[in-house]
């Protein structure tokens, strides 16, 4: 186990180096003045220039510059946005919870829906059920998310008027941001309209969560089905049944635990895609998260914001992948001796 964690930690170091080195190289790769790319300040005066050049060590070797960059990253001095002049560190960490929140709820939703469906479709008694679920999940898997989003919005928002089309919370409610997670913020706030705001937040969550969950749900259904199928054929299941355990007991003690292990791994592999899709979803539903910020920054050529956003998103994906991997190890002792340095 420690050996395994040690391996993972060294991997973490290497990848961190890769990501930061790439982010650092963007200073040189983006067009425009080097110091502007680094600081985000567009009109640097003469006297300021000297001060900033010293601070950012631009006249020294690349290695020194890179080390200074790492130090600033660690201190939270990420420069300011070229367009708005806001602190990038503040900007990103104010918006990050919104992205995580959306992805997390979509993930929970897909778990709740996909696992029963996967188990159901693994049952061999009703091949039509299996076929039905499989074809539905294939449709969900292959449907472009922006198209699905528009269809759902058109039916449930525009035609039926059940759900709002955009945003996280109606502008009517003024909730002070504490954690950045809207549902938690509402619960810990002391406003008189808490219940009203909470149900409004749920209404706003409904469509984006559903749309974003479409992809992980279909992936999970398919992987649950496959692994349940193979697990239920294993001899230890037969042995358990021979002991006289009920179906529920067999499932709970042996089936699900073994069957869901590969599912955790699948999830880890698809987490990157999930974040990408979350960014698309944010843009479509005007969800004020990191993805929407990054897309705006790209449109407006706000290089400092692009760099900060890329750094945080890649770090997020990478950390989540490792986390899923560690989880997998905890649940499956066998995996600890399999393969080295896998991510």
């Amino acid at each position: 186990m420690f050996n395994y964690l040690y391996r993972k930690t060294s991997l973490l170091l290497f990848i961190s180096f890769g990501i930061t080195a790439f982010a650092f190289s963007l200073y040189y790769l983006f067009p425009g003045d080097l110091l502007t790319n680094m600081t985000g300040i567009t009109n640097i005066t003469e006297e300021n220039y000297q001060f900033l050049a010293d601070k950012y060590k631009i006249n020294e070797s690349i290695i020194t510059q890179y080390l200074a960059f790492l130090e600033r990253l660690y201190q939270g001095d990420w420069g300011v946005s070229i367009n708005t002049g806001d602190s990038i560190y503040q900007l990103i960490f104010n918006l990050l919870p919104a992205t995580i929140e959306l992805a997390l709820y979509a993930l929970i939703y897909s778990f709740i829906v996909a696992i029963p469906f996967g188990v159901l479709s693994a049952s061999e008694s009703h091949p039509w059920l299996d076929k039905g679920i499989l074809s539905l999940s294939l449709i969900g898997f292959s449907m472009p998310i922006f198209w699905l989003a528009l269809i759902i919005t058109f039916i449930f928002s525009i035609s039926l008027g059940w759900f709002p089309t955009s945003g996280r919370l109606s502008l009517v409610y003024d909730i002070p941001p504490e954690t950045g997670f809207i549902l938690i913020d509402i619960l810990i706030s002391d406003v008189p309209y808490k219940a009203e705001a909470f149900s409004d937040a749920l209404e706003h969550l409904a469509i984006p969560t559903f749309v974003l969950a479409a992809y992980p749900t279909t992936v999970l259904i398919r992987s649950t089905r496959q692994s349940m199928k193979s697990v239920m054929q294993k001899s230890y299941i037969k042995a358990a049944r021979a002991k006289g355990l009920s179906t529920w007991q067999v499932l709970k003690r042996h089936g699900l635990r073994n069957g869901l292990l590969p599912v955790i791994q699948t999830l880890g592999i698809h987490f990157g895609t999930l974040i990408t899709l979350a960014m698309v979803t944010e843009v479509i539903f005007a969800w004020p998260g990191l993805g929407a910020l990054l897309v705006d920054a790209i449109h407006q050529r706000d290089f400092t914001t692009i760099q900060g956003g890329l750094l945080v998103i890649s770090a997020l994906v990478f950390l989540a992948t490792i986390l899923f991997d560690v989880l997998y190890m905890i649940f499956d002792p066998l995996a600890r001796i399999r393969g080295h340095g896998k991510i």
Partner: protein, 564 residues
């Protein structure tokens, strides 16, 4: 055995599914529970606006977006225009006494008018003459400490030469203030009633000067209006709270929110999903789409505007009135109103729109006739036609939703009389600059009135003074016409003024420095549980009397409103 197991397995998952479904349904129902009437949503007015305001002081701008967002919500004027009658009535001034010679206007202010109390300012006194003097001195006196704050440009006041008109502002006592004019000008009161002539707090300005934060006066506003500033996030929203001590009445809403949504279809979608109560600047095609929807009220609001085709009369062949007259016959107003305005406009036979009090319906011969045009052009000495440019403005405005399309229609008709027209356009900034320099042959542009006074259509558009300063796009200067509109200004009796303006219109009809094309209709589009929203024909929207009803307003009240 195997079958048995999977059956049980199926049963179990079904149970689980049922549970998930039940939880989902619960959350869903919780979300859809009927809103009770005392909640915040019922006490909030949501307006979907088309853009962000430049700042929070209308003195410094002419942009309709800013006026809509700011003027009537945060501020009051000394006098205001009744949107129904178009007449000037009292606002912060309870009475106005005008001297015999029409050179002195004495305003008697209301007592006990409270300014907003916010996180950044707590007033210690109510409105007095100092505030009025401050508000106007800032605009007029270039050496006033606040004159240069925010750039020092006051486009509306500069345009009507207000600084030259007002000789002196005299504080008579606490609640009396007198304006002395250099010239007896009938449009003075109408200009005082525009959305630009708002009253600021002198006490707040003093406090800001002490703190060295003068710039804040235009960004963290203090006024006397029904709502006060709470929060603004650029390009996202503005939140106003109720002004509890509003002098006129208790405001109907706890808060008014401007949801800034520049995309047209997103705004329409938000109206349909009840995320907005009122839709800002609906396009003609949106109005058509919304007409068949349930729960949406569409009311035609009068708007004082005109779109026209102006000829550069300093350039041949347009210096010849006959040529201009000939070209006026090729304007097919019906086709334009159908294709460009989608029938949301009236054909214009005069510069003044029909809802202006000085308008008089005269049946001028405005037929579209290629033969007449051809004959007249031959008579003028151009039997084979000529080459010309039509400049089409690149932006969409209330008075002209699509100048490019209009230019194409004209181009086609011109080709029938042998005139070869070339359509020219630039980006809006360059366009206006080149226009002011007189580089055009002819231009498709328009005018949206700032106030109810007919003068606002004549002097800025066609006077000799405007021909030199730039807003006269025809570069036309006619002494007879000028004397008519100046005479109309020097008297206050409406019927006499009307007669002068009609004479001016006649000269216009003969000389054709420009061809009026259409008066566009503006729409007020809102959810059917909203009433009392006032769309001022001269600019800003007002929510002062707006109400949100628990149930739909019944058909009869709606019909009544529609007739206004």
């Amino acid at each position: 055995m195997k079958i048995n197991i999977s059956e049980k397995l199926q049963k179990m998952t079904t149970k689980l599914l049922a549970n998930v479904f039940a939880t989902g349904l619960f959350v869903f129902l919780a979300g859809c529970q009927p809103k009770n009437e005392t909640n915040l949503l019922a006490n909030t007015l949501l307006y979907c606006s088309e853009g962000s305001p430049d700042l929070f002081n209308p003195q410094l701008v002419t942009s309709g977006t800013t006026i809509d967002a700011v003027s009537n919500q945060l501020y009051n004027r000394l006098v205001k225009i009744n949107p129904q009658t178009g007449m000037v009535e009292s606002d912060l001034a309870r009475t106005v006494i005008i001297s015999e010679d029409k050179m002195r206007y004495r305003f008697y202010l209301r007592a006990g008018v409270e300014f907003h109390t916010t996180d950044y300012f707590t007033p210690t006194r109510t409105l007095n003459s100092e505030d009025v003097a401050f508000s106007f001195a800032r605009v007029f006196h270039s050496n006033h400490p606040y004159n240069k704050v925010g750039g020092g440009f006051y486009p509306f006041f500069d345009g009507v030469e207000f600084a030259q008109l007002v000789e002196q502002i005299i504080v008579v006592d606490d609640l009396t203030i007198e304006f002395r004019l250099t010239d007896p000008q009938a449009s003075f009161l109408a200009n005082m009633a525009t959305d630009f002539a708002i009253i600021l707090s002198a006490e707040y300005a003093e406090q800001l000067s002490e703190q060295g934060l003068e710039e804040n006066i235009d960004h963290y506003p203090i006024g006397t209006g029904p709502y006060k500033y709470e929060h603004y996030v650029t390009d996202r929203y503005i939140r106003y709270k109720k002004h509890e001590n509003y002098w006129a009445s208790q405001p109907n809403f706890e808060q008014v929110i401007f949801d800034i949504t520049p995309n047209n279809s997103n705004r329409v979608a938000k109206l349909l999903t009840k995320e907005c109560d009122i839709l800002g600047y609906p396009g003609a095609s949106d109005v058509q789409y919304l007409e068949n929807k349930n729960g949406i009220d569409i009311v035609e609001a009068s708007s004082m505007n005109v779109s026209y085709w102006a000829f550069n009369t300093s350039e041949p062949p347009f210096d010849n009135p006959m040529v201009r007259k000939a070209l006026s016959y090729i304007v097919d107003r019906d086709a334009i109103i159908d294709a460009v305005y989608r029938n949301h406009a009236e054909p214009a036979s005069s510069l003044l729109p029909p809802n202006n009090w000085a308008y008089k319906k005269i049946d001028r011969n405005l037929d579209f006739s290629i033969e007449k045009a051809k004959a007249m052009l031959t008579e003028a000495g151009y039997p084979d036609g000529f080459d010309m440019d039509i400049w089409a403005m690149p932006v969409q405005r209330v008075y002209n939703p699509n100048a490019g399309k209009m230019a194409e229609i004209l181009q086609q008709n011109l080709s029938l009389i042998g005139v070869n027209a070339n359509i020219v356009t630039y980006d809006w900034g360059t366009f206006r600059k080149k226009l002011a320099q007189g580089e055009h042959d002819s231009v498709l542009i328009g005018w949206l009135a700032d106030n109810s006074d007919p003068d606002n259509f004549f002097r800025p558009l066609l006077s000799c003074a405007a021909a030199f300063s730039g807003s006269n796009r025809s570069a036309w200067c006619n002494d007879e016409f000028d004397s008519k509109i100046l005479q109309a200004l020097s008297i206050t009796e409406p019927e006499q003024r009307k007669a002068f303006y009609q004479e001016a219109e006649n000269i216009l009809f003969e000389q054709v420095p420009l061809v009026p094309i259409a008066h566009a209709v503006r729409y007020r589009v809102n959810r059917d549980n909203i009433s009392g929203v006032e769309l001022n024909p001269y600019g800003g929207i007002s929510f002062e009397n707006a109400k949100k009803h628990a149930k739909k307003t019944d058909k009869t009240t709606r019909a009544k409103e529609g007739k206004k």
